[in-house]
């Protein structure tokens, strides 16, 4: 597999639970190519396997079968140590519940991945300050997570995911716990990241979040059942608000 245009790829990617009669095909032979810089949304009813797929792509879970390639390198059969290293350096995760360390300030949370990857504390601090500035929270660096709004907490979590300049950002229901205003905060940040060329794969059940992606795949029973290109739009916003005469 030498298609380096795709930063993230899977072939025949499968994850089964149980066996015999009770075999559940959570992810069933999924082939996926995510070109660099693409924002991809994965949608589907709960239990369709979309979160499991994201975990397989990011090396949080091991596939039963199939392959995952990141920037032309096969990652599904790395050993635990190699996998952990790959996750730290090349993948950024964003979760529905933020998963911030409650005892640490916003800046310390964002510093953490860089420190774990072996960067100097000075480099980690500088990177965290830059990222918090970039996400518009330059004045909240010393706040603890509980002192921040939901949208701010998720933005800090996104900054943390970006700390080691990952090849791919993987987001599992990133707006699932947010109200409309906070959702818009997060979507604006994603739009900025997209403009900067960040590759992003997100799982969501919210059509309004999914519709802002470049591409939307629908999942059902562990398989892709639809693949829609959304970027570009229809140029018919006038129709939408009833101004077409």
């Amino acid at each position: 597999m030498t298609d380096f245009d795709a930063v993230l790829q899977s072939r025949g990617l499968s994850r089964y639970h149980g066996q015999g009669e009770s075999l559940v095909r959570a992810v069933d032979e999924v082939d996926l190519d995510v070109p660099a810089g693409q924002t991809l949304a994965i949608m589907g009813p709960s239990g369709c396997g979309k979160s499991t797929l994201l975990h397989l792509l990011g090396g949080l879970e091991r596939p039963t079968d199939g392959e995952v390639w990141l920037a032309g390198r096969r990652i599904d059969h790395l050993n635990e140590r190699g996998l952990a290293r790959m996750r730290r350096r090349s993948i950024g995760f964003v979760f529905q519940n933020f998963h911030l360390v409650e005892e640490l300030s916003a800046r310390e949370n964002v510093e953490l991945p860089a420190l774990l990857a072996g960067r100097s504390s000075r480099a980690a601090r500088r990177r965290a300050a830059d990222l918090l500035e970039r996400i518009g929270l330059g004045d909240r660096t010393r706040h603890l997570p509980w002192e921040l709004s939901g949208g701010q907490r998720q933005r800090v979590a996104i900054a943390r995911a970006l700390a080691n300049e990952p090849l791919v950002l993987l987001a599992d229901e990133p707006t699932g716990n947010l109200d409309t205003a906070a959702t818009i905060e997060v979507l604006r940040l994603f739009a900025d990241l997209r403009a900067a060329g960040q590759t992003l794969v997100m799982v969501t059940h919210d059509e309004r979040v999914a519709s802002t992606a470049d591409r939307l795949v629908s999942m059902h029973d562990g398989r892709f059942v639809g693949d829609t290109r959304l970027a570009g739009g229809t140029g018919r916003l006038g129709d939408l608000i009833g101004l077409d005469g």
Partner: protein
């Protein structure tokens, strides 16, 4: 209603009363407000436009309810165009509903594929509305209008999911019973 009547004739030529019965079946309680004359008025217009041709049944008086209506080639073309067009009719769910019913009855197109094409179109529009929201400042009143547009599109998308669930089940042939 013209398009729906044409699409129903695509299955086979039919009497007006039969068409009316099929429309009422597709519409359920919503079809009860449709009066008997409406179908004949529509058929007369379609005949005048050259989209259907009427043939009198042998030995019966020349009354509209005795005629058998059939599509002309121009009518066929118009049905195909209607089925493949993905314009979301303004607040006209009925038209889309009838399109699915007619497509299924005449086996002209797979209703699930029609739903899918429509969903893709609505998602693109929703994306457009959402991107416009993101570009507006927080205190913008235009953002409020776009919010309304997005919420309505979202409701339409949920309804399309329901359409897909129903039309992806195999149908029994009770339609013409």
């Amino acid at each position: 209603m013209q398009d729906a009547v044409l699409a129903m004739l695509a299955k086979e030529p039919s009497h007006g009363y039969r068409l009316r019965a099929r429309l009422r079946q597709a519409l359920g309680p919503l079809g009860e407000s449709m009066n008997a004359g409406q179908v004949y008025v529509t058929l007369a217009r379609l005949e005048k436009a050259g989209l259907v041709a009427a043939e009198r049944s042998d030995g019966l008086p020349d009354r509209p309810d005795r005629k058998v209506y059939a599509l002309t080639p121009a009518g066929q073309q118009r049905v195909s165009a209607w089925l493949s067009e993905v314009n979301w009719p303004k607040a006209n769910l009925t038209e889309f509903h009838l399109k699915l019913a007619a497509a299924a009855a005449a086996r002209l197109a797979d209703p699930v594929e029609l739903v899918d094409a429509q969903r893709r179109e609505l998602l693109r529009r929703l994306g457009e509305a959402q991107r416009a929201v993101l570009a507006e400042p927080d205190d913008s009143t235009a953002g409020l209008l776009l919010e309304g547009v997005a919420l309505r599109l979202q409701a339409d998308l949920r309804w399309l999911d329901a359409c897909e669930r129903v039309w992806s089940k195999p149908k029994n042939e009770s339609e013409d019973a």
